[in-house]
């Protein structure tokens, strides 16, 4: 079967005056729009471009593009075509091997509405309590359901195109009509990536923020306002579904949480940067993490609210050192309805 092709409309780029994909990039210097336009044209034409080597794979240009024209996916395609490795080869090999489907379907008592843990075991800890009454056992997990968006970081669009249609089929075969995605990467895959690659979607993806917001409204009598100031940690794949961000405000509003108006939030967010460490070494990663956390401190955040378990792994112990409490969004909701935080800070230092 032929691999799906990226739906990219170069006429949209031709008409674009803003070149936001490059001009807004936090890691490449394209303040000069003319220069940006020329460089982007090279990417479109499949020519060598500094963009292909300098891209940190932060995903943000997917959000910056006003036309939804998928500039980042095009960069990934071009990187792969030219054999440019955004990360060291062994890391890419490891990821490709680790997540390949092996015919092992890890499912709970799956119903028409189900939760996707993707390949993140942390959700086994998080998904508990009243918020998940009636759905907690309806779960899919593992390589057979792995969304594969991670290969965007590794210039392996071909892996996504090869595996994703089968993943979608696997989910369909479970009889799932509505899939509550507990990770932006999944939700972004089943909305943005499938759309960009024209892959039919036989089920409806629901972002877990939407799900949580709905449950919290049902449980509103249990909510005791937390009255805290929190920094929100946006993750890279949030850039694939920026339309979801309003739910952060909606949920925070229900819980009595103030989303601190800091420099590095919303469109200007800094990701957890751990992917930079693996791709480019420690200097950029350390710098981004330091700026991000200092920003949280500067704006008086008491909590750092995480969306992504991988961000949690990267930053939780670092924010604690700055006196900020790390908490996952699901746990934040639990606190407000009188339940306990489940995902706790990992031990920093193992036994000697």
């Amino acid at each position: 079967m032929p691999l799906p092709k990226l739906k990219f409309d170069k006429t949209k780029c031709a008409e674009c005056k803003a070149i936001s994909c490059l001009v807004k990039c936090q890691y490449m210097d394209f303040k000069d729009k003319d220069k940006a336009k020329k460089e982007w044209q090279k990417v479109i034409n499949g020519e060598d471009s500094s963009v292909l080597k300098s891209c940190t794979t932060c995903y943000a240009c997917e959000e910056y593009c006003p036309f939804g024209n998928h500039p980042f996916y095009l960069i990934v395609e071009r990187q792969e075509e030219k054999g440019i490795l955004p990360a060291p080869r062994p890391i890419i090999t490891m990821w490709i091997n680790q997540c390949q489907p092996v015919g092992r379907f890890m499912v709970g008592k799956v119903e028409e509405r189900a939760l996707s843990y993707c390949l993140l075991p942390q959700f086994n800890t998080l998904v508990k309590g009243k918020l998940f009454d009636g759905i907690a056992l309806s779960v899919i997990f593992g390589q057979e359901f792995f969304c594969n968006a991670v290969y965007l970081h590794y210039a392996k669009a071909s892996v996504i195109k090869d595996r994703l249609p089968k993943i979608v089929e696997n989910i369909k075969k479970q009889g799932i009509k509505e899939l509550v995605c507990l990770h932006d990467e999944c939700y972004g895959t089943f909305t943005s990536l499938t759309s960009a690659y024209d892959i039919d979607m036989p089920f409806k993806p629901i972002h877990y923020y939407e799900y949580l917001y709905g449950r919290l409204k049902e449980l509103k009598d249990l909510i005791k306002p937390l009255n805290i100031k929190a920094a929100y940690q946006r993750n890279c794949s949030a850039r694939l579904c920026p339309e979801i961000d309003h739910y952060v405000d909606d949920i925070f509003g229900l819980l009595g949480v103030e989303r601190v108006k800091r420099e590095y939030d919303r469109e200007n967010a800094l990701c957890c940067a751990e992917i930079f460490r693996m791709a480019m070494g420690p200097v950029l990663a350390d710098d981004v993490q330091k700026r991000n956390i200092n920003d949280m401190v500067r704006f008086g955040a008491e909590y750092c609210v995480f969306n992504c378990p991988a961000c949690w792994d990267s930053l939780a112990h670092k924010v604690v050192k700055q006196g900020i409490k790390p908490i996952h969004m699901i746990d934040l909701c639990k606190l407000a309805i009188g339940e306990e935080q489940a995902l706790k800070l990992p031990e920093l230092v193992a036994e000697v």
Binding site: L85, A87, P88, R89, P90, I91, I92, T93, M94, N97, Q98, Q100, V102, P121, Q122, E274, R277, M278, G281, P282, A310, D313, S314, K321, P346, E347, L348, V349, A350, E351, V352
Partner: protein
């Protein structure tokens, strides 16, 4: 010759009836270890409590010319404590006292039955700023047995073999005399196993209990930093591994360097996992060491040949555990709990050839493999394990694993390696290749110390 019954009575007289057995179940258990060597039953299992009891037992065995095999936890997996000619297995577990920790001279004196796990726990509780080099065997492995087989551990990259960390011995000679080796022979302090005296520890370390029974051992302790972390690098070219190990060693910042390779789980397939462990008393110290490691490997990272893997806490925990639990997990990959490895000590330049051989042999014999390499000393050598797991209920698979192991051992020897904790077959391979004059020397030593050949016969037997 004394009858079996009379011998039993004599043993009971020495250690008491609760600590002597010639019952079938004990003889069955002490006839084997977890590896592939065929079992052979002892006539007696004896558990002494004191060095004096050991002396009495050895004198009795010597008088009666009964073989005697000292045993720790029996975890070498190469049959070193299987009583090849029957006789007495001397289980040292009751000699389990930690006798002294000298904080200022940084050593501990333990009896022969003290285990790695107990010493680790004791130091953590009573001397948290001191540690010893923990091998990746299960925690019931004994300190003495590990030193006797020249084991390696978490500090081997910095300080060499665990036997290099021995700081004194108390030994019962095969003729029953109790003898002290090292500084403790002239002083109350156990700070050196040899220097500035003639180093006699070599008469016992590496001899697998064929020259005497160690009843006490002094072991060097090392600073225990408050923090410890792992830096995990991935490579996919075996040819680069020796230089990567050397560069890590060059930093003089790394406590331990281990390289793993296995086809399963899938995440391991096609890559070598290079684990560099660092320690520090502060974030700043750790960060400095991280930078040094990054700098050392930057060239390979920049060329995209070497990757860095950020490790999540759930992944980090097993990688940081001491001992590593991976060995136990690997032992049951084929189900049925069988596992053995050949672990030649060899120059690190041999890594690519050894990996190729491992893959070739695993395919040839259709056995599941893994390899763990530990850097020993500042790049002086490495322990490279050719590891195979098997199902104990599957005799065919066991036979294939055995063939695979011996082919790897022969190969390692041909390539200039020296077989580690060699079983009796491998000992023969080693002795066949050994300088004849060295063999004569070994034979003279053995005959001098053990004139009746009662000590662990079958092992290190020079024809």
């Amino acid at each position: 010759m004394t009858t079996t019954s009379a011998l039993c009575d004599s043993l009971i007289k020495i250690v008491g009836k609760n600590f002597v057995s010639n019952q079938k179940e004990e003889r069955y258990f002490y006839a084997r270890d977890g590896g592939l060597m065929p079992p052979h039953e002892p006539d007696f299992v004896v558990m002494p409590k004191t060095a004096e009891e050991v002396q009495e037992i050895v004198k009795l065995a010597n008088r009666e010319k009964v073989p005697i095999v000292p045993k720790g936890a029996g975890l070498a997996l190469t049959g070193l404590v299987i009583p090849q000619r029957g006789g007495i297995v001397l289980d040292m577990k009751r000699m389990d006292r930690i006798l002294e920790v000298n904080e200022k001279a940084r050593y501990v004196v333990v009896e022969a039955g003290v285990t790695q796990g107990v010493l680790k726990s004791y130091l953590q509780k009573h001397h948290p700023h001191l540690r010893h080099s923990i091998p990746d065997s299960p925690p019931v492995a004994t300190i003495v047995a590990n030193a006797v087989i020249h084991g390696q551990g978490r500090l081997s990259q910095q300080h060499g073999f665990n036997s290099d960390m021995v700081s004194g011995l108390e030994v019962v000679l095969p003729t029953g005399e109790l003898c002290r080796i090292g500084s403790c022979s002239v002083s109350k302090y156990w700070f050196s196993k040899g220097p500035p005296l003639p180093d006699l520890s070599g008469l016992f370390l590496g001899w697998f209990g064929t020259t005497g029974i160690i009843t006490r051992l002094g072991l060097k302790l090392y600073p225990c930093k408050k923090m410890r972390d792992i830096m995990l690098f991935l490579a996919d070219k075996a040819e680069l591994i020796p230089d990567i190990m050397l560069r890590l060693s060059h930093t003089e910042m790394v406590e331990d360097v281990v390289v793993s390779a296995a086809p399963l789980p899938l995440r391991f397939r096609g890559t070598f996992w290079i684990m560099a462990y660092i320690t520090g008393d502060s974030d700043e110290e750790l960060e400095f060491k991280r930078k040094m490691v990054w700098n050392a490997l930057w060239e390979y990272f920049e060329s995209r040949d070497l990757g860095f893997l950020s490790v999540s806490p759930d992944m980090k925990a097993p990688l940081m555990s001491m001992p590593s639990k991976d060995t136990s997990r690997f032992a049951d990959v084929s189900k049925g709990g069988g596992f053995q490895y050949a672990g030649p000590i060899t120059p690190i330049e041999k890594f690519p050839a050894f990996i190729r051989k491992l893959e070739e042999v695993a395919t040839k014999y259709n056995v599941f493999y893994a390899s763990t390499t530990r850097l020993i000393g500042a790049g002086h050598c490495m322990m490279f394990s050719f590891s195979f797991s098997f199902n104990r209920a599957n005799t065919d698979e066991m036979a294939r694993a055995k063939k695979a192991l011996y082919e790897c051992s022969k190969f390692a020897l041909e390539e200039g390696g020296v077989l580690w904790k060699a079983d009796i077959y491998e000992q023969r391979l080693l002795m066949d290749k050994m300088d004849p004059n060295t063999l004569v020397l070994m034979k003279k030593i053995k005959q001098l110390l053990d004139p009746n050949g009662i000590m662990n016969p079958g092992n290190w037997e020079v024809k």
